[in-house]
């Protein structure tokens, strides 16, 4: 289980800004996705979580976006590893959809409105398994729809996307992603556009399919609750950098980075006192054009001091737990010194 299937190391993604300036949207992001495991990336809009996901699939808009540094290593069970950053563009179709598949937030824009659901599903098999006969493709497609719990799949094959509801469309998109039995599923805000009761259905579907196929899941979301329900590990991103990462329960029960703490306490919960003031993180996320040199959270942080003008390194806190904060690293060193004395 501890084997790593997808390893992202020091990834940096830049975008073309005004003039010749390059804007760094993702800076020095590293994480490992375990085989069969599930990893969540949480953060607010503009924190670089979607850009990270797109760069894993090499889907960054060209020529504006570019992977400036780092590696994305995809390993198979035999120990062969490929670096997706250096992978030739022409051969990417062997990875995309087949080994790493992706689902997006808005299911209707992921489906072609002028083709029937069945045709779109069968197209995947046509592309990846050109030798398959029509009947076989049809059978596989119906089977896929059945696996994502779509009622009367034969009839749905003849429907256009606009005939289906949002939740049903997202099921079709998941079916498309699963067609080639990918090893890694990247889900970018898969339930954000859906109602809570439908969200619950889709999340349990993804969970069930993961259990069934043993695929690994990279879940990108702004909702900490969704990650808590779905994932083993989590990466908290802020303004393009990793603020904190580790096992989900550790981070929720004992957040270390001031941003993670702020994020967790600013969510109203079902047990909080009604009408009580929520704790907030004042201010807003710095703009890409005007990123502070040091810790990017410093201008909103209550604990900020002089040394926060320097960029904090991602420090290890023990057992897979990393935090990028000067204050926390300091505490840990002291605790360790305490423990040894």
């Amino acid at each position: 289980m501890s084997e790593v299937i997808l390893s992202v190391n020091e990834l940096a993604v830049t975008f073309r800004g005004e003039g010749k300036k390059r804007l760094t949207a993702v800076d020095n992001v590293s994480f490992d996705l375990k085989r069969g495991g599930s990893l969540g990336i949480v953060g607010e809009s503009g924190c670089g979580k979607s850009v990270t996901a797109l760069s894993l699939m090499r889907l960054l808009p060209k020529p504006a976006g570019d992977i400036a540094r780092g590696s994305i290593v995809l390993s198979d069970t035999e120990g062969n590893a490929v670096d997706l950053v250096k992978y030739p563009q022409k051969k990417l179709h062997k990875i995309r959809g087949k080994r790493v598949a992706m689902i997006f937030q808005d299911p209707s824009s992921s489906l072609n409105p002028v083709h029937k659901i069945g045709k779109q599903l069968m197209e995947v098999y046509k592309l990846h398994f050109p030798k398959m006969s029509y009947e076989q493709r049809h059978r596989e497609a119906v089977d896929l729809l059945r696996r994502v719990d779509i009622p009367s799949p034969e009839r749905r094959m003849l429907d256009f996307p606009h005939n289906l509801s949002g939740g049903m469309k997202q099921r079709v998109v998941i079916a498309l992603a699963l067609a080639c039995k990918p090893e890694v599923l990247i889900a970018d805000e898969p339930t954000t556009a859906l109602d809570v009761t439908v969200q619950e259905q889709i999340l349990s579907l993804i969970k069930g399919l993961q259990r069934e196929t043993g695929m690994s899941l990279l879940l990108i979301t702004h909702d900490v609750g969704v990650v808590a329900e779905m994932c083993d590990d989590v990466v908290v991103m802020y303004a393009g950098r990793v603020a904190e990462k580790g096992a989900i329960r550790d981070i929720i029960d004992n957040p270390q980075h001031p941003y993670t703490k702020g994020l967790l306490t600013s969510i109203p919960s079902l047990s909080s006192a009604p009408k009580a003031r929520l704790s907030t993180i004042e201010g807003s996320v710095p703009s890409l054009y005007d990123m502070p040199q040091g810790c990017r959270f410093a201008n909103r942080c209550d604990l900020a001091e002089q040394r926060c003008e320097q960029q904090p390194a991602l420090g290890r806190l023990g057992d897979g737990r990393y935090v990028a904060c000067h204050k926390v690293a300091h505490q840990v060193v002291r605790e360790e010194a305490h423990g040894s004395s």
């Binding site: 049903m168 009761t197 619950e200 109203p268 079902l270 009408k275 704790s279 907030t280």
Partner: protein
């Protein structure tokens, strides 16, 4: 039950929309958006309205505001029927009820500066004042919602989502209303910004003695801001109670399912009541109890007989529309 004067009273409000088809634009169907909603709001109180998309919660807000005309039923503001008002009298009444919308940027005119946006309500209502007075009033409003006074001459696109929502709130407060209808005011915002805006709304309620109708799909947010909560399903009220009672001991199976579907960060997982299927079309709402097609406890009676809203548990504030509410409460807890 409450000695204070009722601020707004909604009674048996109905709203349907016609669906036209063919070259003669014949009416072929009706969308039943809101069917028979009643509730009262007292001064400085918040009534939350929750439900999934298509349950009619936004239509309800707009019908109260008289952006839509109701088919049936009445909305009374301080005893005066809004439906009977016309022209100047309606405009005068609207000063007291204002609205905040979901998309902060799209609800502001992109070609207006912030001071133009906030000034517009005064112009519409013919409340002319000298330039200096107006400037002072705008500064005061910006200050109230926590924006810098220099924001006045900037355009909406220069602001972030949270700041735009503050501008929208400042505009809504311009005429000193007593009731704000907030239609998904924080749904488009990030969590850390969301909490800032919620705190702002709570603070303004205390300072300006405002009442809110708070429409949202996020149950935790609604619970947090509301005194009483209405749960809607396909245009009808299924449960209505104080927010504590509703969340702690829900009776209606739909309310239970909604609450248990919220992804939580707590380690102990609550008992789940997952729902199957999706909301039926409001053009052909199911017979009897509208929820019976998705209800795990549905029986024959549910599809034949429509459950009326009734007081439950001896608590006159807790009403629910389910034939088997008492039985189910015993069964699952």
């Amino acid at each position: 039950m409450d000695p204070r004067e009722v601020l707004l009273s909604v009674e048996n409000l109905h709203k349907t929309f016609p669906v036209y088809k063919g070259i003669f634009r014949r009416e072929v169907a009706r969308v039943f958006a809101v069917g028979g909603v009643s509730f009262d709001i007292y001064p400085q109180e918040t009534v939350g309205i929750v439900g999934e998309s298509g349950c009619g919660k936004s239509t309800l807000g707009k019908t109260i505001m008289r952006l839509y005309d109701a088919d049936k039923g009445s909305v009374k503001f301080r005893g005066q029927d809004l439906g009977a008002l016309k022209g100047a009298a309606l405009r005068e009444m609207r000063r007291h009820i204002q609205m905040i919308f979901q998309d902060p940027l799209n609800s502001l005119n992109a070609r207006f500066t912030v001071s133009d946006v906030i000034k517009e309500p005064f112009d519409i209502h013919g409340m002319r004042a000298s330039r200096a007075e107006m400037k002072e009033r705008i500064q005061e409003l910006l200050n109230t919602v926590g924006l810098h006074h220099r924001s006045a001459n900037r355009y909406p696109h220069e602001f972030s989502g949270g700041q735009c929502q503050r501008i929208g709130i400042a505009r809504a407060l311009a005429l000193r209303p007593s009731l704000l209808i907030c239609d998904e005011p924080v749904s488009a915002l990030d969590v850390s910004i969301q909490s800032q805006v919620i705190n702002l709304l709570l603070r303004l309620q205390d300072e300006l003695k405002l009442s809110y109708i708070f429409i949202a799909h996020d149950l935790t947010v609604v619970r947090h801001v509301s005194d009483r909560v209405i749960v809607m399903y396909l245009g009808e009220v299924v449960e209505y109670s104080t927010s504590e009672a509703l969340y702690d001991s829900p009776y209606h199976p739909y309310t239970k399912a909604l609450i248990s579907a919220i992804p939580t960060i707590s380690a102990e997982k609550t008992q789940r009541h997952p729902l199957v299927g999706e909301i039926p079309s409001p053009m052909q709402p199911p017979s009897g109890c509208r929820f019976h097609t998705r209800c795990p406890f549905a029986e024959k009676r549910c599809s034949a007989e429509k459950p009326e809203l009734r007081v439950i548990d001896g608590d006159s504030q807790h009403v629910v529309a389910c034939h088997f509410a008492e039985k189910l409460a015993g069964a699952s807890s």
